[in-house]
């Protein structure tokens, strides 16, 4: 447990010691929030079916979780390149512990980003949380979503040695996952083929669950969302442990 905690704390320290990283990770979702909220908000609201800020805010928080968690794998590539990974690989610490600690660290930093977006949206855009008592549950949901993508980011990073290839691979995965998740527009009216794709997208379940929890609009379908995310965490833990146990440098 101490190995997990130590790796977690390390990831958090690396994050808060990098001001450009903090600024970038806050600026991007804030820009999306302002641009989409102010741009599309009135359009959606004219239809009378949607309070767009209530719809958009969980989606942009989901975006912070997705981007922050997946890009956390970058620190593994960095550690491969600059040697710290070797220090951890020659240590008698369980590699699964290293994976979980790194992933929880990435999750923690992306949750912090998500909470900042939530605060900004409340102040600037007038977002209203369903009820204050759901805050702990919202954080648990954020942790679940971010852990899925932190584990996935670390697994991919463990297999990729090219410093420049990783962001390319990540963008190839992250952008479709974000746009086809229902984070910024409803996906129920999309063509059937695209709907099938959205159902294969883990982010769809994350955004659904987060929106239902934050807006206190939960249904039985959200149990499916939670089940899919927990199942993915289990799968990625098993796969990630196997990959980490085979890392050679």
């Amino acid at each position: 447990m101490e190995v997990i905690y130590t790796m977690l704390i390390r990831q958090v320290k690396l994050f808060y010691r990098s001001r450009p990283r903090i600024m970038g990770s806050i600026a991007q979702p804030t820009l999306f929030l302002l641009a989409l909220g102010l741009g599309f908000g009135p359009v959606f609201e004219q239809t009378g079916e949607l309070d767009y800020i209530q719809y958009l805010t969980p989606g942009i928080i989901g975006m912070s979780l997705l981007f922050g968690s997946m890009m956390n794998g970058m620190s593994l590539i960095w550690d491969k390149k600059f040697g710290f990974l070797k220090e951890t690989l020659v240590a008698p610490a369980p590699r699964t512990g290293l994976l979980v600690g790194r992933s929880l660290g990435g999750s923690t930093t992306s949750i912090l980003q998500g909470l900042i977006v939530f605060t900004l949206s409340t102040i600037l855009m007038g977002y209203r949380l369903g009820h204050v008592v759901v805050v702990p549950l919202v954080i648990v949901v954020m942790l679940t979503i971010s852990l899925v993508f932190s584990l996935l980011g670390n697994i991919i990073a463990a297999k990729v040695d090219d410093f420049e290839a990783f962001p390319t691979v990540m963008n190839f995965l992250i952008l479709p996952m974000f746009f086809l998740s229902g984070a910024i527009f409803p996906i129920s009216n999309l063509p059937p083929v695209v709907i099938t794709v959205t159902r294969l997208n883990p982010m769809t379940y994350g955004v659904n669950l987060l929106r239902g929890t934050m807006n206190l609009d939960l249904s039985l379908f959200n149990l499916v969302d939670a089940g899919v995310l927990l199942f993915l965490i289990a799968i990625f833990l098993v796969a990630g442990s196997s990959v980490f146990n085979k890392i050679e440098t």
Binding site: T6, R10, K13, E87, V90, A91
Partner: protein
């Protein structure tokens, strides 16, 4: 380390004269043989140098000894434990200093050493004392809370060497520990390494391209080239076999004078 900055040995270590036993080790990379059927042993308390030109197979062998690379064939036993079947116990008993710097430059010196203590299960109540003693010994206690990225190469190397000793390993493996360092830092480090070996019987296994320094420090040497061990023995034996007066000349006689890629 005790208060004088020296390494204390735990009492529960298994007794075994041979701390490294390598038999018929081979490592292939996609049909290219980096290490070709080598065998050697290292006795407890020895300073054993593993020498070779660039690309000879030294670093590959070290990676296998330190369990971060799997051999293609052969049996490697470190401190009585097989590096494949019992890699966890091998890792507990060795300290490693890699050729390239492996400190986390975004952490402080203290944080780097503390995290090492966690990874190597150093008892919690001993951590601060061990780190303080070690950092005092290398003159960096005052810089403990500075980020490593502000350190010079020599300072980083000093921290890495004491980090390798924090968990009281039975063997310290050093891959070109003085590469790129100034004369003062090299002098300090070799003295420290000899002190750790002579007073506390920590076996030293090292590589270096500085043959003059190796001749002074090591007691036994293996010369490897193109993946094969060409000569092994005490430094004196190697020099006598080649009828040369220095390890460097013996090395050139054995491995040839042509430049390697």
């Amino acid at each position: 380390m005790n208060s004088q900055g020296n390494v204390s040995r735990p009492d529960n270590r298994p007794e075994n004269d041979k701390v490294i036993e390598v038999s018929h080790l081979t490592k292939d990379f996609n049909g290219i043989t980096a290490v070709d059927n080598i065998s050697f042993t290292v006795q407890e308390g020895d300073i054993f140098a593993f020498l070779g030109p660039n690309g000879a197979g030294k670093s590959t062998a070290i990676k296998i000894l330190t369990t971060i690379l799997r051999p293609t064939a052969g049996k490697i036993v470190v401190n009585g434990c097989d590096v494949i079947k019992d890699e966890h116990r091998v890792r507990e008993s060795i300290g490693v200093v890699f050729q390239e710097h492996t400190l986390d430059t975004e952490l402080t010196a203290y944080e780097n050493l503390y995290y090492h203590c966690v990874l190597y299960k150093v008892p919690r109540k001993e951590r601060k004392d061990r780190i303080e003693t070690m950092l005092n010994h290398i003159g960096l206690w005052e810089r403990r809370n500075h980020l490593v990225k502000t350190f010079s190469g020599g300072m980083k190397r000093r921290v890495e060497i004491v980090r390798g000793l924090l968990h009281y390993p039975r063997i310290l493996i050093l891959d070109e520990p003085t590469s790129g360092l100034d004369a003062q830092t090299r002098f300090f480090l070799w003295n420290h390494i000899e002190e750790v070996n002579s007073e506390y019987k920590v076996t030293i296994f090292l590589t270096s391209h500085n043959l003059e320094e190796i001749e002074k420090v090591s007691r036994h040497t293996a010369i490897i080239d193109k993946g094969r061990i060409l000569s092994i023995g005490s430094n004196q034996e190697i020099m006598e076999k080649t009828r040369t007066g220095s390890l460097e000349k013996a090395f050139l006689e054995i491995t040839g004078y042509s430049i390697r890629n």
